[in-house]
């Protein structure tokens, strides 16, 4: 048995997406910039994909460029807004402590270049306060960038509220919606979003392709110079097959969004309730309701996440953790620390993320396996021994 419960890391490509892509490898393989028939066929497929995706997001096809994925989109959005701001003497950027590294590391770099960065705290439930965003806005604020949904603890941020505030103050608002697109309803116009990043492999599309929506009137700066693809905003021969696959995956995902969400929430809530009931000294990270339908995040006191992951892996369960050992640094996940968890608890985190391909039987299996593995590790943990002793 192999249970894939790491859909926040990446997802399986859907059958429909694979089928949609196949002709573009061996038959319609023309370069979308070529003026001959083969090229124009590829170009047409790409423009259809652009129309489909922009229709889903609620924007104009012209407002959408294709990139290599979430990281590139985040980089380009933030750097572009920073450059636009600098031209007007605005060098202040507002973001949060729970952003993905694709945002945080860009902000680190801008900080070294003289930008002033405000990283907002989040509530213990992992939610940014829209009022905090408003309070942080200054005369020289060039950009607010707040993620739509957190990749570790799944929390959904008050994007529409933040969008309205940014509009009121005339500040550009970017959201990293990599975990949200295809999973929760999004409309960039209704939510007053100026820029939005997404990535196909998080919604059953292929890896290495994504996009950036940019509201008309905001000038993007290219990160990659070269040919005139994407109206000169992103050079490089377009990956037509991947673009077509991304559009097919997103269409399918959005058509089934309500049905999938309902199924996932049921599985998610049952898993959270059952594990919390079976394992003492365990907690769920992030708001119980305002979270992605497929995200479950636990912390178990007295054990460490990597060993938990590997033992679950040996039982056929693929999950992830924000422990220091899995992050490759000395500190556990910045997200778990930002919601106020002490290091020793944050080390014992487990993230299980589901898609509609998962089944209730798999949830049963996980509900049975997790408490066993936790006790096995606690039985050999001197930290658990101490916790038990202190309890007495």
């Amino acid at each position: 048995m192999l249970i894939y419960a790491d859909n926040a890391a990446t997802t399986a490509v859907s059958k429909k997406a694979v089928e949609a892509m196949l002709p573009y490898f061996t038959q319609q393989y023309g370069n979308a910039s070529s003026i001959h028939t083969a090229g124009q066929m590829a170009n047409k497929a790409m423009q259809e994909a652009r129309a489909d995706i922009s229709n889903i997001l609620g924007c104009e096809p012209k407002e959408l460029i294709f990139t290599s994925g979430g990281s590139e989109s985040d980089n380009q959005a933030i750097v572009s807004a920073a450059l636009l701001g600098a031209k007007k003497g605005k060098k202040h950027i507002i973001s949060s402590k729970i952003e993905h590294h694709a945002v945080l590391h860009v902000l680190d770099k801008l900080k070294k270049e003289g930008y002033d960065i405000t990283l907002l705290d989040v509530s213990p439930e992992g939610i940014v306060s829209a009022a905090d965003v408003e309070a942080a806005i200054r005369e020289d604020t060039a950009l607010v960038t707040i993620m739509f949904a957190n990749n570790e603890i799944g929390t959904l941020q008050p994007i529409a509220e933040i969008g309205e505030i940014c509009k009121k103050h005339g500040v550009i608002f970017h959201t990293d919606a990599v975990q949200a697109v295809g999973h929760v309803p999004i409309n960039v116009k209704e939510m007053n979003i100026d820029m939005l990043s997404f990535s196909a492999h998080k919604f059953h599309g292929p890896k290495g392709i994504g996009g950036l929506y940019v509201r008309k009137g905001i000038r993007l700066s290219p990160l990659i110079e070269g040919g005139a693809q994407e109206r000169g905003l992103r050079a490089g021969t377009e990956n037509v097959a991947a673009i077509v696959g991304m559009a097919a995956a997103l269409k399918e995902q959005v058509e089934n969004m309500d049905k999938n969400a309902e199924k996932l929430k049921k599985m998610r809530d049952r898993l959270m309730d059952s594990v919390l009931a079976a394992v003492p000294r365990s907690r769920v990270n992030g708001d119980r309701q305002k979270r992605l339908p497929g995200n479950v995040s636990f912390c178990f006191e007295g054990i460490e996440g990597e060993s938990l992951l590997l033992m679950l892996d040996s039982m056929g369960i693929c999950g992830s953790s924000g422990s220091a050992c899995t992050s490759g640094s000395l500190d556990p996940s910045h997200v778990l620390l930002a919601i106020g968890l002490p290091h020793e608890i944050a080390h014992g985190s487990l993230r299980l993320t589901f898609s509609e391909y998962n089944t209730e039987e798999e949830i049963d299996y996980i509900i049975n396996a997790v408490p066993k593995v936790v006790s096995r590790l606690r039985d050999m943990s001197p930290m658990w021994e101490r916790i038990v002793k202190e309890d007495k």
Binding site: E304, S307, L310, L330, M383
Partner: protein
């Protein structure tokens, strides 16, 4: 695979897990903040380690290094246990990823801490050169040397 088969074997089937209630020496190193704590219990007769058990909180390599370290010193004279190096632990496990080398340092230190405790209980002098720092993260001033 991130780890060698040896590491996975010692992680999935750790040897000498447990506690010794009437231990002659107990050593604990590491700290919860860094995400690893190792505790080693020794039973000693005529300067020979007749039994050894461990408890570890930490990642797979922390558990595996504790396990193999206990195997390497069981039945050995104390003097030999004191010569256990982190390098020997790494070699016995067919290598560790660079970011996990500190776990082998912890294992070496846990053994030394247990021996130090044994010496103390016996009223014996400690040979200072064997007993350096314990702990291996940013919380410890020796952190950088140990994490490579």
């Amino acid at each position: 695979m991130l780890y060698s088969e040896k590491v996975m074997d010692h992680f999935m089937n750790p040897r000498n897990v447990g506690k010794i209630d009437d231990a002659d020496g107990v050593g604990e190193v590491g700290n919860a903040k860094c995400g690893d704590i190792m505790k080693i219990y020794l039973k000693v007769e005529d300067d020979i380690i007749t039994d050894v058990k461990f408890n570890t909180f930490g990642c797979a390599s922390a558990i595996a290094t504790s396990s193999i370290a206990t195997e390497m010193i069981k039945g050995k004279p104390i003097s030999e246990a004191l010569k256990l190096t982190n390098k020997a632990v790494v070699e016995a496990l067919d290598g560790l990823p660079p970011v996990k080398i500190h776990c082998s340092v912890l294992a070496e230190e846990a053994v030394k801490a247990a021996v130090a405790d044994y010496y103390k209980k016996q009223g014996k002098e400690l040979d200072e050169e064997f007993f350096s720092c314990s702990g291996c993260c940013s919380a410890c001033e020796h952190g950088e040397e140990h994490t490579h």
